[in-house]
Structures are given as structure tokens and as C-alpha cells.
Symmetry: C2
Subunit: 377 residues, 2 copies
């Protein structure tokens, strides 16, 4: 269980297979984000229809509402959200450090105010681990201290050091829980922090690997406001030092970021972009993003993306999709979310195929020429 096999490589890009309790996952993989135990506007059947294999849910959000005890009473997270394939829960670290309003961080953990009812709550490495254990996803994430993208070296070092100490506490608690209920299959992945400071990231990576034997590794604290070339450069420099483990770049991303990151050895991604942008009327296509509200689509009988096999593209015209957005109809939110998620899942599949042909570089060049330069964006 939790085995990761590299099926093929092409440069630094890898095609792998990750075995999880609820199924195996082919990488590169894009995880749709089900923050509150539902991928916004999509049903589990929709997710299956677009080929989702691994879905992310959020510990902070499910803790504040409905509460992990409720999820537990309703049969744990898989049953709760009726998703029988693999799940990953984020630890809540990113959320509590992103919250507006009151927050107090000390060595013990983070005290914060619930965005739902304003109640004071505390997340510690142990609590975040216990909550995720109760939720029961296939993969749990360590509780980390996240700093803004532009954090200076002392701030970034302080957060990284704390993240390392918290990682030990998460791993200890996770091992204790696992010892009690041996039947529950869940793995815990560490999160590498260190801001945009390469030496700090390198040191953090070394120390994470020294701490234990992991089944995967997440790269956190990127795509949080720093320029994109900085993120790409960091990934490129880290790549040679990364172990074979599955590599998860948290909170990424947009199509061009997925391609750039896979090129630099990343395997897993999550991002709200496909659903959030979809709800705003923006659709990914091979020729770049398209705004479905544009008047040019008014009486266009063509599908949104003629190359796409999703329900949206095989059923409806651009003209009808535009009508749904102009008329503020709920179906539009769902149809564009569905297409955008399918787009990223197909993109990951195309990358996997290119890696298996050992032709990732030429494929990426072609892809970029069409996506970035077609002028529809």
C-alpha cells in the first residue's frame, strides 16, 4: 500500500502509478478541490464522468462545519461525500494562515477564529492529525506554518523550522493512531516550506528526509503570490535533490503551470481554478482561456472545445452556454466547472502519454504554441 511506481520518464517528467487504499492513481494527476466535502457545483457522478481519481477535501473547513464528529457519525469522509475513490485531506495549515482576522501562533499550534461562527479554536499538529484520522482520507497532510510568497529569510526560516518540529509531532500522533486501529489505511505526507529561498528549501528537504521514511512529499508555500518564473526556477533547482517519492505541488494550478511543473518533475496538483474560473464564465480550451460571456458566442452553434469529450462539450453549443451565463442560470456554473476539471484531467493524461513516448519536451512546445499564442486568451 502507498507504493509509487515510476512507469516512464521523459527528462525530469515522470509517469507513475500510486497505489492507495481506495484505488490506484496514475500520475501526473490533477485533484479537483472539494473544500467543504463537495467539489463546487459537481456531484460524485460528475467527477467520475470526467475521470477524477483523487479528490482533495479540507480539514479546516470540515472541522468548523459540520465538524469532524458529524462526518464520523455519517460514516467518515468517503461515505459522507459519496466518493469511493481516493481522497486527500489538506491539514488546515494553509487555511488558518490565510484567514482574515484573529490568529495567534505559538509553538503549540495556532489559535484562530472560525469564519463560520467567530468561535475561537485551536489547531495543533496533533489535532490536525487526529481530525484527518477521523475524516479517513487515503492521504493526510502534515500541519505546516505557511508564510506569504515574499517572506524574508528570517521569517521563512522560522516558519520552516516550526514546520519541521510540527512534522515530528504529526508523525508521532499519526503513528499512535495507526497503532490503535491497524485496519485504517492512511498515510501522512510532509510539506516542504522555505519560501523562495533555495538554500532553505534544500536544507528543509534534507531534514524532512532525515526524519523518516515517507510515502510522498508535498511542496507548499509556492504559488502564493511570488512571480511565476520564481516558482518554476525553484522547482527546477529542487528537482535533482528530490527523492523518487510522489511530489505534490500544492495549490497549482493553471494549465501552463501544470505543464511547467510536470516538466520539472512534479506528479500531483490541486487547485480551485477550474471550478472557480468556471463559475466566473471562464473556460480552458486548447487555444487558451475563453470567456463565455463574450458577445461573439451569442449564436455560435459550435461546442466550447471541439476536442473535449465532456458532457458540456458533447451536448451544448457555445451560444447556449453564453445564454446560461447571461441569464445567471445555475446550470452554466456546473457545465463550465465540469469542462474545466475535465480539461485539466485530460491535460494530465496527455502529459502522461507524452512521457510514456519519451517526448515530453516536443509535446510541451507544441502545447504552449497553441495554448499561449493563439490569441483567444
Amino acid at each position: 500500500m502507498f507504493e509509487f511506481v515510476i512507469d516512464a520518464t521523459s527528462g525530469a517528467a515522470r509517469a507513475g502509478t500510486l497505489t492507495l487504499p481506495h484505488g490506484s492513481v496514475e500520475t501526473p494527476v490533477f485533484m479537483p478541490v472539494g473544500t467543504q466535502g463537495t467539489v463546487r457545483a459537481l456531484s460524485p457522478n460528475d467527477l467520475r464522468s470526467v475521470g477524477a481519481t483523487l479528490v482533495l477535501a479540507n480539514t479546516y473547513h470540515l472541522h468548523v462545519r459540520p465538524g469532524e464528529q458529524v462526518v464520523e457519525k455519517l460514516g467518515a469522509l468517503h461515505r459522507f461525500m459519496a466518493w469511493d475513490r481516493p481522497l486527500l485531506t489538506d491539514s488546515g495549515g494553509f487555511q488558518v494562515f490565510s484567514l482574515e482576522g484573529f490568529r495567534r501562533v505559538d509553538e503549540g499550534g495556532v489559535e484562530f477564529q472560525s469564519h463560520v461562527d467567530g468561535s475561537r479554536r485551536t489547531l495543533t499538529p496533533e489535532r490536525a492529525t487526529e481530525i484527518q484520522w477521523v475524516l479517513g482520507a487515503d492521504i493526510a497532510m502534515a500541519f505546516d506554518h505557511v508564510v506569504p510568497g515574499g517572506a524574508d529569510l528570517p521569517t521563512a526560516r522560522d516558519a520552516m523550522e516550526r514546520t519541521l518540529r510540527w512534522l515530528e509531532r504529526c508523525a508521532r500522533r499519526h503513528a499512535e493512531l495507526k497503532a490503535v486501529v491497524a485496519s485504517c489505511d492512511q498515510t501522512l505526507w510532509p510539506i516542504l516550506q522555505g519560501g523562495t529561498h533555495l538554500a532553505l528549501r534544500e536544507e528543509g528537504l534534507r531534514r524532512i528526509l532525515d526524519l523518516g521514511s515517507w510515502t510522498g512529499l508535498a511542496i507548499g508555500g509556492l504559488s502564493v503570490g511570488e512571480p511565476k518564473p520564481v516558482m518554476y526556477d525553484m522547482l527546477e533547482r529542487l528537482e535533482p535533490r528530490l527523492p523518487t517519492l510522489p511530489r505534490y505541488l500544492m495549490g497549482v494550478g493553471f494549465p501552463e503551470d501544470l505543464v511547467a511543473a510536470v516538466e520539472r518533475g512534479v506528479d500531483l496538483f490541486d487547485c480551485v481554478a477550474p471550478t472557480r474560473n468556471g463559475r466566473n464564465g471562464s473556460a480552458f480550451t486548447p487555444d487558451g482561456p475563453v470567456n463565455m460571456r463574450n458577445a461573439e458566442h451569442r449564436d455560435d452553434p459550435r461546442p466550447l472545445d471541439a476536442t473535449c469529450d465532456c458532457e458540456t462539450c458533447t451536448t451544448f453549443s457555445r451560444g447556449y452556454l453564453r445564454h446560461l451565463f447571461m441569464a445567471e442560470e445555475l446550470l452554466g456554473l456546473r457545465l463550465l466547472s465540469l469542462h474545466n476539471v475535465r480539461y485539466l484531467i485530460r491535460l494530465a493524461g496527455e502529459m502522461r502519454a507524452a512521457i510514456r513516448r519519451n517526448a515530453f519536451g516536443p509535446w510541451a512546445g507544441e502545447w504552449r504554441r497553441r495554448y499561449l499564442h493563439s490569441g483567444t486568451a
Copy 2:
């Protein structure tokens, strides 16, 4: 085409089969309302999954947005909304008489202000007929003059007389259009008005039947604010005078109204209640309506309605549905809309089965005992 066969009766209640260009429809039937060319929050696949056979769309709404020319360019209404089963379009009469703001009625038609862009527009019997012809539904409705439920006799008579004159104009224009394109199969149904004045309704009915040979008949101007017993009484008194034609009670309704109206010889219904109430968190169940926001559902693992075969009831717990509403997740709007539409379609199916057993009365008694008196409402 447009044949209506009575398969069975039980008292005044009828089970029939209506043959339409896009398929046949078993009655009693509930039509989901796709005001703007989409049943709110539901896709055509959703509608098929709940067994919808006949769907309603709205002439006024599609005329003001996106405009019937756009719908025509996109392949007419069936192709536009990707619904290949029968469609019925309301004439726009009800909408222009319900609009807030400017409205001027004369013998020619109604001048009104678009709720979308404030533009002045005019609907006449001829225009409403032409627009519906372009939209291309199986059944078009005559353009009628609607008055409020409590309208006095002179007001109601004036509107009824105008509705009769307009019916002649609609029928003439429809025949002209049909003569040009003989291949387009669409029928036109008259609407009986007359408020709550029985003698007026009786006279209106006689005069409609004198005007021509129809394939169906709608009863308008009920369920518009008058007390329910008034509506039931009116239906009961009209019933012996109604021809065998399919009888469509417009804008109804709630489960108890469907049962009461079928008992009084009605065959077709439409109402936004299942989708609107669903979006508000209210679900129909055999034990009466349930508010999914109630705290009692918090950790209830049971399905919303254990007797129901819809995706919502076979997949999710009450606890999860409540969570979706508390967390304001879009999926909740869809799941309750889906269930409520399925509920009314199953209710119509149960009524049909009871009629075929010639046991409508006892069935209705049982149904009411459970629905109205179970105390969960």
C-alpha cells in the same frame, strides 16, 4: 399526431396517453419548468434520470433573452436546450401580466418593459404565436389576458372576452404558419380564463369549443392567489362540462394540489415549486415537506426519502444534504431540485397506477393521511 387516448378512468380521474412529435406522454404528467430554456439547476440528463417526459419553457423569457432569433440560429428550442423529448411553451401572457412596472394593454396586444434591459416591447397574439412557432415546441399556448385571482366579474369578463378574441387571432396565425411549413409539427392549445366566476368559465369553455377543434385545453388564471378550496370547487364544477381533450391546469403545483386536481379530471401540470422550494432547502417526502436546514438532520445517516429512487436519495444522507445547505454549496440546490421533480413525477406515476386499478379514491385517501397528517410538515 396530437392524439389523446384515455387508457383508464377512476371517478373523474383519467390515465391517458398523449402522442406528440417528440414522443408520447403518459398522463397524469408533471412538467418541470425550464423558464429560460433550462430547468433551474438541472441538466437534460438529470431530467431524463428522473423520468421527465414533457418540459415547459417560456416564450416571454426566451424572447427577451437571448431572443427567438438566437434560439432559431442555434437549431430551435429542442436543440438549444438539448432536450429531445416533448416541449411545451407558455405564450408569455402570464408573464407580461405579472411584470412589475410599465404595461399597456389594448385590443392589439400588450406593450411592456423587458425585465432584462428595460426596453419597450409588444406582444400580440400573432407575435406570441410566431415566436412560439420559431421556438418549435410540440405544444404552443394561446396568448391570454390574465387577471388576478380576486378579480371582480366585469374585470374577469373583459379579460375572458379579450382572451377569446385573441385566441381566434392566435389560431389564424398558427394555421397560416403551418400552411407554409407543413413539416413542422406543433399544436396550439387554448387557455380558459374567467377568474373565480363559474358562469363565466362555463360560457368561456363553450365558446372556446365552438371556435374550433382543439387537441388540448388549458385552464389558466387559477392558483393565482385565490383560496385553494375555491380552485378545487371550480375544477369540480367545470369537470362534467370538459371535453375528453387533455386538460392542463397551469402553474399547479404542490403535491396536494396535483392529487386534488387529478381527482377532478386534470391531466397536465407545471409549477416551479419543486425547483424553487428545492433551492430553498425544502424537500417533498411522502410524510410531507421537510426543511433540510433543520438541526435534526445534522448527523442523520438516512436518505431524504427512503421510498425514492433518485440520485439524491440513493446516494446521500440527510446529514450531508443539510451540510450542503448550511455551507451554501451549489450541489445542495441541484440535489433537492432533482429529488423534488422526481417526487412529483413519481406521484403522477402512482396516481396513474391507482387510476388503472380504478382505485383512485382510496389511494388518494391513504396518500393524504400520510402526507398531510404525519406532522413532519
